[in-house]
Symmetry: C2
Subunit: 548 residues, 2 copies
């Protein structure tokens, strides 16, 4: 039915094999790309949801719930059907056999169609992401729209590749003394069971799509449980998925929404005997709980991490400072990939502008952030707003953790007077204060640590990553030997490394189809977005053979 | 170094994609295949181990332990170095970085070399397998030798395919408004950590090799802990692996033996924080314990199951009875794949020799087994010996479970007077006695169950498989509709199905590179030997990127 999507699937298969640059969904919100009026229509669509029950044809208790409030200071007032857990799971199970029997090709092409339709709603989603996460609009468009869609397609593609790596039928002919033994065999992909995706507050689509589509393409019905503060982007997603599935003749119960106001629905669903896959993004505390308690399920978690930058030397002093300043400021550091610990030798570093002492590095970085965020109106388009009160509390108490190199600054948004906006705080702490920098401080909080040497910096990188996990690591050096040592440390610690970023690539950004997000090799995540380990456990092969 | 093995690896890669017939290691023990004198030299090599410390250059406590006794009635008297757990794990960890850095190609070619060398020791291993498991010689040669070697190569190949599905390096060039962004990226396979393989009593090599080689090829050092009654086949294996690894310049501690006399070493090793992968074959009780307690590890288990035969009708009455009789008798049913429950409509079945009532099916099957095993000297070459006292106790108490259709018979081995040998017992039980036939009775014990209809038989298949697991299912019918219903039941239950086996293919046998062994989709196993899900979790991808 969606045969016209095969070309996209083929290109995506080439992309995951080569892992060079490729993208299916343009990241530019320009009218030249998405059409005149697309931005306006998307904003209207978003606004049409506000203050009303969300149009979702899904059975529930009859109660409509929801209490989302934009970090920009407005109540959304959207409500969602409160689910009945047993009904939700029962409907998902009933929908499964036909989806299984449809086979990998039909499922993959339908999943691509869902992602294509989501892409057509990118502006609507951008507004929904902006007003649930606090991201600035352009970031909400890109990270919540095309970048998330690329990750979705990537997951579909990995799932399809894994399901089709072996032939679906085989003719087996074993030579022998007499007549050969001849059998016909059929190999069927069988889904693991009902899947649960638990969304997060900061990247509701980007972090939920890989699990959602990896499970769906491999034959599993998916229940999407958004974070109570970021329901709308996933409600729109679920609605689109259900529409496409119904169009294709499948039961829309293959994808359903489990909205809540934060009363423990995730625990109930995750430990239900019929829930066989759980994907989660969020706190280490709850991720660990899921791993310990959702024993009947395959559990994939992405949790907290401590991201480290090792500064040894640079041939682009200004490029390095500008790049780091941007990484600290983007979405106020409210990214699992944002750097937290910047390790610099106490004796300073060599640069293309001469030797810089530790204090010069500190003041240089502070000045770079100050310059980048100097103009309020431009600053808010980079930092966005603070997503929730927990982050705000951490920023406000950060000065007590060490010597303040750069204080955080409250910024007033020109259009949203009630938005809570803070620039990054940079705090100097000693290498001995590993109780401080050795754990995650999610938000616009960075630590500058004077180490005895780059060797010690790499040792800190190894130690903190192994102990607390990390999603990114980064190193700056003009020495090939030091870069090799950094690579070696990153391999030992199991963290993805970026070296010498001084221009338009930032450590907190990963490109679908090329960059892996997370590795599974350190405590921050159980798997990568996306690699074979992320999809393989979601299905089984069941064979049937008979004499030919 | 082992570049000459690349052709084998390439052929194996084609085989896992097509899953038709292919084998790398000839299953015939003929001198025309393995050379004149190979059988005699293998026997001498086996005998040279008896009554002595096994030649293994591996550090230990200084104590030499071991208490293997052949089911054919002789003490082996081989002893093995008692390991010091921390030393074993420490040595394995120290060996890991160089093995990781060697990369997928070097590791895969070295693993193929290990399997090739094992193949050269097939006769030696056949004697060791015979005298630890009780298998008859030819079966010990085939299942313990070439068939196990094919499974080993299959695991190497799946691991290699998963590691190399994406390019190891990529040039990323993102077009933009100004200069394109250009990055060079490297993707490195990083092992999960120290792997543990826990061997079983009945198929020490066949069931241990997939885990051993899947972990090793993906970069993990492997500690092999054999069943205390079946150490020698794995000690020989470990010795060969260490020799090849040392020849190739790697630390032989990448593969080590953890022998014990049965004092809980498996629990100590499996829960050690540095053990990150556990492969286990054995009882449901201990498999469940591992899944619950070895929380720091990826755990793959193969446990008990209840294998079912649904008899609806046949166009080969004699072929069906002969095939079933063979499947019940082979290695006295001491196979995880042997049928246990034979479900037949109480009203009988249609056959090419006319309608047969239930009693005729029962007496026909009893006669077929009786004829197959009528001659003692020939019978023992099919049944082998009873592997341990637990199995013997179950056979002896089986008549109390229902109405005996065929009693078990003690057979005297012409060469080994102390061998314990029993033919299968067949017991008729009612469909209501699911407390009896609904659990595994490992050994030469089969139940004949008169059901109301084939529909009920398929329902019993579904129910018992979902509840207790199964490694095989089988159906006989001349009706395409019934075969379709059987396939549908097998998909729902997640079990591999064989239909209408009446000639030289038996339900308890699976051919590497074509048949999957287990599915992971029912409680008998967590994964299949071998599919992508079996290998994918054993390694991670870690990336490094820098501006080009």
């Amino acid at each position: 039915m969606f045969e016209h999507n095969r070309d996209t699937l083929e290109k995506a298969l080439s992309a995951i094999a080569g892992r060079g640059y490729w993208s299916a969904y343009p990241e530019s919100p320009s009218p030249r790309v998405y059409g005149e009026g697309a931005a306006e229509r998307g904003k209207e669509a978003f606004e049409s949801y506000l203050g009303k029950p969300f149009p979702l044809d899904q059975p529930g208790t009859g109660a409509w719930i929801g209490a989302e409030r934009s970090p920009y200071g407005i109540d959304l007032g959207v409500t969602y059907p409160e689910p009945v857990v047993e009904d939700l799971i029962g409907a998902a199970k009933a929908a499964m056999p036909a989806w299984r029997d449809a086979g990998p090709d039909t499922r993959a092409l339908a999943c691509v169609e869902i992602v294509n339709r989501i892409n057509q709603h990118s502006f609507e989603l951008a507004n929904a992401v902006q007003h649930t996460t606090g991201q600035a609009f352009v970031m909400a468009f890109q990270a919540g729209g095309p970048h998330a869609q690329d990750r979705a397609l990537e997951a579909v593609t990995y799932g399809y590749a894994a399901m089709t790596a072996s032939a679906p039928i085989a003719h087996w002919e074993k030579p022998g003394k007499g007549e050969p033994l001849v059998m016909d065999k059929r190999f069927t992909v069988v889904p693991r069971g009902v899947a649960l995706v638990i969304g997060c507050n900061t990247f509701p689509t980007w972090n939920a799509y890989p699990g959602l589509f990896a499970s769906l393409v491999t034959g599993n019905p998916v229940i999407v449980k958004p974070h109570p503060r970021a329901v709308l982007p996933l409600a729109i997603t679920v609605r689109i998925a259900r529409e496409v599935l119904a169009e294709a003749g499948f039961d829309p119960a293959l994808v359903s929404l489990a909205a809540e106001e934060g009363r423990g629905l995730a625990k109930t669903l995750a430990t239900h005997p019929d829930v066989r896959i759980v994907d989660f993004t969020g706190s280490t505390e709850f991720g660990d709980w899921l791993e310990q308690n959702a024993r009947q399920a395959l559990v994939h978690t992405e949790k907290a991490g401590v991201n480290t930058v090792v500064v040894d030397s640079t041939d682009s002093w200004r490029g390095m400072l500008g790049n780091l300043a941007f990484s600290l400021s983007l979405y106020s550091g409210q990214m699992c990939t944002a750097p937290q610990n910047i390790l610099v030798p106490a004796g300073g570093i060599d640069t293309d502008e001469g030797h810089k002492g530790f204090e010069e590095v500190a003041s240089g970085l502070a000045a770079a952030v100050g310059k980048l965020l100097g103009d309020d109106a431009r600053a808010v388009e980079l930092t966005g707003a603070i997503v929730n009160p927990d982050v705000l509390a951490r920023v406000e108490s950060a000065p007590s953790l060490g010597d303040v190199v750069l204080p955080s600054r409250a910024v007033r948004h020109p259009s949203f007077p009630d938005a809570v906006i803070r620039t990054p705080v940079i705090v100097r702490v000693d290498p001995s204060a590993s109780d401080v920098y050795g754990r995650e401080h999610f938000g616009p909080i960075a630590f500058l640590v004077p180490t005895a040497s780059t060797e010690e910096s790499l040792e800190v990188l190894r130690r903190t990553t192994k102990a607390r996990g990390a999603l990114t690591a980064s190193a700056y050096s003009t020495s090939p030997e030091v870069l090799d040592q950094a690579e070696s440390a990153a391999l030992d610690a199991g963290v993805n490394l970026s070296c010498n970023l001084t221009a338009g690539v930032f450590v907190n950004q990963s490109a679908a189809f090329s960059d892996y997000h997370g590795t599974g090799a350190n405590p921050a995540a159980t798997a990568s977005l996306t690699d074979p380990g992320y999809v393989a456990g979601r299905f089984h092969m069941v064979q049937s053979r008979r004499p030919a």
